[in-house]
Symmetry: C2
Subunit: 219 residues, 2 copies
DNA sequence: GGCATTCCTGACGTGATGTCAATAGCGTGT
DNA sequence: ACACGCTATTGACATCACGTCAGGAATGCC
C-alpha cells in the first residue's frame, strides 16, 4: 500500500516544499469542495506528513485562502498592449483577450469562480473584492476612462456588477455551451459599451430629471 | 446558564419541530459560514438535542441545503399582476418590484446569495440553477417574450447571465452603498432593455455577418 | 568525523459528526 | 382515571478531522 513512495525522507528548501503542498492543495480543492477535502488527503497527495501543512500554512483555512488567492489572480495581461485606437475597438479586443484567458485556463478559472463567495467568510470575501477592484481598473483603462471623476464611484460599482455578468456568461459558455464564443463576444462587448456610453451618462443626468425616455417609472 | 429553558421535555408534531430547527439553522447560517456553525450550536439554539437534527434532516449538509432552498425561493411575486402595457413599462415595474423585495428581505437575501456558488457542491449548484431558470422565466414573462423560439436558448442564457449582474449590483446597493436605489433602477432597467432589444437581435443577425456596427473585431 | 541547525514526523488531546439503544411524552381504549 | 402503545426525543458511544508538541533525521560547517 504505502510502500510505493516510501523511499527515504526528503528534505527540501522550505519554499520548494511549500510550493509542492500548495500544488497538491490546488489540485484537490479543484475537484472537491472545501469540506470534502481533508488535510490528510492533501498531505498524502503531497507525499508529506499532515502536520507539515500546519507548519507551512498555519491551518487548513489559510492554505485554502492561499489557493483561492493564487487562482483569482489569473487575468493579468488581458488589457496590456492594447492598440491606441477608439475605446470601442480596445474594449472589443479586451473582451477577446478575456475569452482567450478563460478558455486557456478553463479548469483553473472555473474552480476559482466556483469557490466564489464562500459566503460569510470575510477573508475570501476580501480577496474576491480586491480582484474585482483590479478588474474594474482594467476595464477603465481599456476604455480610456481612467481619468473620469464625475460619478466615478457609481461607474466603478456598475463595472464591478458587470463583472458578475461576465463571470456568469463565461460559465454559460464553458460549462453549458448555451452560448458560443462569438455570441459571447457580441453579448459582452455590446453590454459594456452600452454601460459606458449610455447608462453611465444617463445616470449622471438622471439624478436631476428622474424620468427617462422610454417609460414613466410608476408609483 | 442552561437552566433557563430546562422546563421539561416538549414533544411536538414532527412538522412543527422540523420547522423550529430549520428556523434556528437559518438564523445561524445567516451569521456565520457553513463550517463555523456546528450542529451543536443549531441544536442549542433550537432548544433540542443534537441527534434530533440527524433524525429530521439526515446530516448537516442536508439541513444546510434545506436552508439554501428556502432562502433562494424568495422572489415570487416580482412579476405578477403587471399591467398590460409595453415591455419597457412592465420591465421597469418588474425591476422596481425586485428592488422592493431585496430591500425588504435584505438580510435573508444577502445570506442566500452570500452562499451562492459554493462551488463544486453539485446539490447547491442544482438548487441555484433551478432558481436561475425560474428567474429567467419571470423576465421573459415580464418582457412579453414568452413565445420567442428563434435563439431561445441563447436568449435565456443571456438573461441568466444578466441575473449575475443583477445580484452583484443589488449587493453593491445593499452592502456597499455605492449605488442608490434610483441609480440601480436606471442601471438595471437600461441593461435588460438593451439586452432584449439590441443585443438579442444583433446576436441573431450576427451569426451571418460577423462584424458589428461600431468596431471591426480584429484578428 | 563531530556538531549545530532546522526540516520533518509520530503520537497525543480536543472537538465535531453520525449512530443506537433506551427513555419519556402524548394519544387511545376501557 | 388508569394502563398501554406509539414514537418523538435523548444520553452515551464510536469515529474522524484538525492542531500541537516533543523528538528524530537530513544537511551544512568545522
Amino acid at each position: 500500500m504505502s510502500s510505493g513512495s516510501r523511499t527515504k525522507r526528503r528534505r527540501l528548501e522550505p519554499e520548494e516544499r511549500r510550493a509542492e503542498i500548495l500544488a497538491a492543495a490546488r489540485r484537490l480543492f479543484g475537484d472537491g469542495s472545501y469540506a470534502s477535502v481533508s488535510t490528510s488527503d492533501i498531505a498524502k497527495a503531497a507525499g508529506v506528513a499532515r502536520p507539515l501543512i500546519n507548519h507551512y500554512f498555519g491551518d487548513k483555512r489559510e492554505l485554502y485562502l492561499e489557493v483561492v488567492r493564487q487562482m483569482v489572480i489569473v487575468p493579468a495581461p488581458v488589457v496590456e498592449n492594447l492598440p491606441d485606437t477608439t475605446m470601442e475597438h480596445r474594449l472589443t479586443i479586451g473582451v477577446g483577450h478575456w475569452l482567450d484567458v478563460v478558455e486557456r485556463n478553463r479548469r483553473a478559472w472555473l474552480t476559482a469562480i466556483g469557490h466564489e463567495a464562500v459566503g460569510r467568510d470575510p477573508e475570501v470575501d476580501r480577496i474576491l473584492r480586491e480582484a474585482d477592484e483590479v478588474a474594474a481598473d482594467r476595464v477603465l483603462e481599456a476604455a480610456l476612462m481612467t481619468g473620469v471623476t464625475e460619478g466615478r464611484e457609481q461607474l466603478r460599482a456598475m463595472i464591478r456588477s458587470y463583472g458578475g455578468m461576465l463571470r456568469a456568461a463565461s460559465r454559460e459558455w464553458l460549462v453549458r455551451g448555451s452560448l458560443d464564443r462569438e455570441e459571447l463576444r457580441i453579448f459582452l462587448t455590446g453590454s459594456i459599451l452600452h454601460l459606458l456610453k449610455v447608462t453611465y451618462p444617463e445616470l449622471l443626468a438622471g439624478k436631476l430629471a428622474a424620468g427617462d425616455g422610454d417609460s414613466r417609472p410608476p408609483v
